[in-house]
Amino acid sequence: MSTKSDLPQGTLDLLILKVLALEPLHGYAIGQRLQQISRNVVQVTQGTLYPALHRLENRDLLVADWKMTDTGREAKFYRLTRKGRAYMDVEAEKWQRLIDAFELIFKSADRSAP
């Protein structure tokens, strides 16, 4: 449970975009998917997930369609826009660079330790 607050600022957006890059999903499914893929490391509360989704929608990185589902209710399905995909690529690269740098520093620090 504590991991939710450990998620660095901005990463949730990126993770959501990555999940949605595969297929359009509704909010609940996005939460479940994040949990599954990260093997329960990433747990997102609804109080964080939905504002993030709405924020991304407002920035035109996502669009939503209402679709009838097997439950007999309409559900809101989010999918990636082109702008969202481009944003995701750029951000993912940034993160990758940061992670590489992070790794480099930690490993070299380990080596130089006596």
């Binding site: 609804q46 407002n58 559900a75 809101k76």
Partner: protein, 873 residues
């Protein structure tokens, strides 16, 4: 069903989405074997604050701040509705402050700040003759104007205008004759000002030189007589019996010489206009108002230097110019005038003082309210409201107050301006162009917002800065935030109120003194009927004399009329242009002489007007007969000036600067008291009365009893004699005199009103502060009472605090008033701006009101019951 989705609100959609999520989670838990009830409970726990989650979603909406603000404002209105008295007080005070400020700024902008409505107005200058001996400005003469125009290089054009007594005008083919002020204008007048006519054209140079009888109408006259029809051009206007052709119409903004000028005609239509004879004309000061337009690239200073050179050359050349100089000033300064400028700035300063009082008052009210609400804010903060959120809410409440007050203020300003237009003095130039000023409205609204926002949030922010826990736990309200700040606000209000009160007292005193001046004649039961005989029908002087003799006899026969006389212009400001020559004291014609006026009057004028005859007799009919010996009656001041210590009776004088060629003299046959007819606040000018009947006269009618009831009968008698004579100027002398003090009365009324509002506000402010402080100290006062403090000492304690604040305010107020008074002196009649008794009376008044306001909370403090206070505190 897509269309229905569009109609769902954003909140509905959010609801649906969240519910979908919950249902799926519940279904998942049920699938793992949980009971549905258990699953729901668990989901609810996991989800945490459902509303909070929704709120976060709303927060990321792009238009959030706006709808949020609107919602806050709505809540603000609601929370104010719960405190009606508070809201009503704040809104009323702000409305008055904003309304008065907007109205006064509109006046300021219209009258003082707005440019003249002529082309490139900054190039226009007034060129005035200056009398060196009297050290006062004067009109100019034709020969001087001609010399200036010929010699000046700094002016591209120099022309002139002047106004004459109203003329009778009749439109060809129309019945009723009218009286209208006309502007007589010099060559190139319209060209120098550079204003295009609304329709038609302005008189051409050829027409001017040919002495063609052409006129230009004002927009007002055009509208009344021709309903704005272009057919007016080419029609005939009969001015004083002479037909003139209408060539153009000038727009309403064109207001030279005055804002009630009905039409203009070139001076060349006058038979007297002959420039070839200009050298024979008198060079003394005269009636021309000379104006010029600076040549491109020339400055006013260059023009001043050049004109003063020209003036000194003329002084050397002509004896009559020996004591004449020239002053060049911006046309704007000449037209708007120092007095108007001072009056309007004074009004504006007064309204700013009032606004400051209002703001301080509202600031006090809001800060008291904020302090009272400290606990509410602490609760809100504890429930998770961020500081920004609380401030936003406060801001929204302030905006609700401001919005209501602004709407009221603008409406009030509009009403005030309408009142001003309807009842205000007409003497202020350009006042008829007055309207709500967009700049003023915007400025006042913006300023109001800043004040309200600051007063509404600052005290609360100070209040919420303390740890919320302390505020929650102790309900400690005994130490309000910044008590000094609130004290200062109250002292400032008292200072402002004192300044306004001093101003009001000074103006009231000045007005009362002016109104109480002895007119020198009996102003009651006296009526003036203006009669202008057409030049064509009454060309012969004998016909005029006969007409007025008959008119006087007919009117005198009306029951109720006790005496009738006539004078050239009863209320006219006598300019003192003439001079007399005294037998045995003949001086050089060029010697400077006291300014005096020779006033033509009919027999019976002194009796009718009630002017006391000090010595000698009044004129009678024989004095009007042709060939009768010339006679004069002089005013007391004239007698004193020329014959100090002796009687002027029987002395010989003539009108003019030198004895008559034939050696005859006129005789002084009477002395009368000095009279004030041009205005009670204007000192009488030296006057010599001569018997005459002019074509244009004011019939002066004295009645026993209700003079106005006689108007129909008077009209009937004059109509019977001369149906074509316009009779649209009939007034009682009392109303005429009152009109001439209208400006002073108006200034006084405005200041008294402002001072009254200021005092009420300051008293309310002081009362509210003390009442609030007493309420806060209920517990402390209860303890004091319990420990044996007697009631008197508690009353004294509260009163002392109130009086101390009042004294601080009074001290500051006296200094501010004394500083402001320096700019006020010229506006006062016979009253010193630093008049000690006025200040003393104002201080006493403010102090008395302050003590009364402080007494109520002081007595409440004394009545505090120790037991109740301690239990409740």
């Amino acid at each position: 069903m897509r269309w229905r989705r569009g109609r769902r609100t954003a909140d509905d959609r959010l609801d649906l989405e969240i519910r979908d999520h919950i249902e799926r989670q519940v279904a998942d838990y049920v699938a793992t074997g949980m009971s549905e009830a258990e699953a729901r409970k668990r989901v609810r726990l996991e989800f945490g604050g459902l509303d909070q989650a929704k709120e976060h979603c709303r927060d990321v909406r792009p238009h959030q701040w706006l709808s949020e603000l609107i919602r806050d404002v709505r809540v603000g209105f609601r929370s104010l509705a719960r405190e009606r008295l508070f809201a009503a007080a704040v809104i009323t005070i702000l409305t008055v402050g904003i309304g008065a400020t907007v109205a006064m700024f509109s006046v300021l902008n219209t009258v003082i700040l707005r440019d003249l409505p002529y082309a490139r107005p900054h190039e226009l200058a007034a060129i005035r003759t200056h009398l060196l001996l009297q050290n006062q400005p004067d009109g100019s003469s034709i020969p001087n104007w001609l010399d200036w125009r010929t010699e000046s290089k700094t002016f591209a054009g120099i022309t002139f205008y002047f106004r004459t007594a109203a003329s009778a005008v009749t439109f060809a083919g129309r019945e009723a004759p009218q009286r209208g002020l006309k502007g007589v204008v010099g060559p190139d007048f319209f060209e120098v000002l550079g204003t295009a006519p609304l329709i038609g054209r302005t008189p051409s140079r050829e027409e001017f030189d040919r002495h063609d009888r052409v006129v230009v109408l004002s927009e007002g006259l055009w509208q009344e007589q021709f309903d704005r029809s272009p057919d007016a051009i080419g029609r005939t206007l009969i001015v004083d019996g002479q037909p003139h052709t209408i060539v153009g119409v000038m727009p309403r903004t064109f207001q030279l010489p005055t804002n009630d000028t009905r039409f203009w005609h070139p001076i060349s239509t006058s038979p007297l206009w002959d420039l070839s004879k200009a050298s024979t004309l008198n060079r003394d000061g005269d009636i021309l108002e000379v104006i010029g337009r600076l040549a491109p690239g020339r400055t006013l200073d260059e023009a001043r230097a050049e004109m003063s050179l020209i003036a000194s050359r003329l002084r050397a050349e002509y004896p009559a110019n020996r004591f004449l100089d020239v002053r060049v000033l911006p046309l704007f300064d000449h037209l708007v005038g120092d007095r108007t400028r001072r009056t309007v700035w004074l009004g504006f300063a007064a309204v700013l003082a009032l606004l400051a009082i209002a703001c301080a008052n509202v600031g006090g009210l809001l800060s008291v309210r904020a302090t009272r609400r400290r606990q509410e804010f602490a609760v809100r903060a504890a429930l998770g409201a961020g500081r920004a959120r609380v401030v936003r809410q406060l801001l929204a409440e302030s905006i609700s107050l401001w919005a209501t007050a602004s709407a009221g203020g603008v409406a009030l300003a509009y009403g005030l301006l309408r009142l001003l237009l309807a009842y205000g003095p007409r003497t202020i130039p350009r006042i008829e162009q007055l309207g709500l000023d967009a700049t003023a409205v915007a400025g006042a609204l913006l300023g109001g917002l800043v004040v309200v926002a600051l007063c509404g949030t600052l005290p609360s922010m100070i209040a919420t800065r303390r740890t919320s826990a302390a505020a929650l736990a102790t309900r400690d309200q005994s130490s309000p935030p910044k008590p000094r700040f609130h004290d200062l606000l109250v002292a400032a209000q008292i200072a402002g109120a004192l300044v306004l009160l001093v101003g009001a007292v000074l103006f009231a005193e000045s007005f009362v003194r002016a109104q109480g001046e002895d007119p020198g004649y009996i102003a009651d039961d006296l009526m003036i009927v203006r009669i202008d005989l057409p030049q064509i029908e009454y060309r012969d002087a004998a016909a005029v004399v006969t007409f007025f003799r008959e008119a006087r006899e007919r009117v005198a026969a009306i029951p109720g009329v006790t005496a009738v006389g006539g004078t050239m212009d009863f209320f006219m400001r006598r300019n003192g242009q003439q001079s007399i020559t005294i037998q045995g004291r003949e001086e050089s014609p060029d010697a400077p002489r006291p300014r005096l006026t020779i006033e033509p009057i009919t027999p019976g004028f002194f009796r009718a007007s009630g002017t006391p005859i000090v010595a000698g007799r009044e004129f009678d009919e024989r004095d009007l007969e042709p060939g009768a010996p010339g006679v004069f009656v002089v005013s007391e001041s004239l007698a004193r000036r020329y014959w100090p210590g002796e009687s002027p009776m029987g002395k010989h004088i003539v009108n003019g600067r030198q004895p008559r060629k034939n050696g005859t003299w006129d005789t002084i046959i009477g002395v009368v008291k000095d009279t004030r007819r041009e205005g009670l606040d204007l000192t009488p000018i030296l006057t010599a009365f001569a018997p005459a009947s002019m074509r244009n006269m004011d019939l002066t009618i004295r009645a026993s009893g209700d003079v106005e009831a006689l108007i129909p009968a008077v009209r009937r008698e004059i109509r019977a004699m001369a149906p074509a004579v316009p009779l649209n100027r009939i007034a009682t002398v009392r109303s005429g005199l009152a009109d001439r003090l209208a400006g002073r009365r108006f200034e006084t009324q405005v200041l008294v009103l402002f001072a009254g509002i200021g005092l009420v506000l300051a008293a309310a402010g002081l009362y509210a502060l003390l009442a609030y402080q007493v309420a806060l100290r209920t517990r402390e006062l209860g303890i004091r009472a319990a420990l044996g403090a007697d009631r008197r000492s508690i009353v004294t304690m509260v009163l002392t605090h109130g009086v101390r604040l009042a004294l601080i305010g009074i001290g500051v107020g006296i200094i501010a008033a004394a500083l402001a008074a320096r700019g006020l002196q010229n506006l006062l009649y016979n009253t010193q701006a630093l008049d000690a008794s006025s200040y003393a009376a104002s201080v006493a008044g403010v102090l008395l009101i302050a003590i009364s306001a402080a007494t109520i909370p002081a007595r409440r403090a004394a009545r505090i019951d120790p037991i109740t206070a301690l239990r409740e505190g």
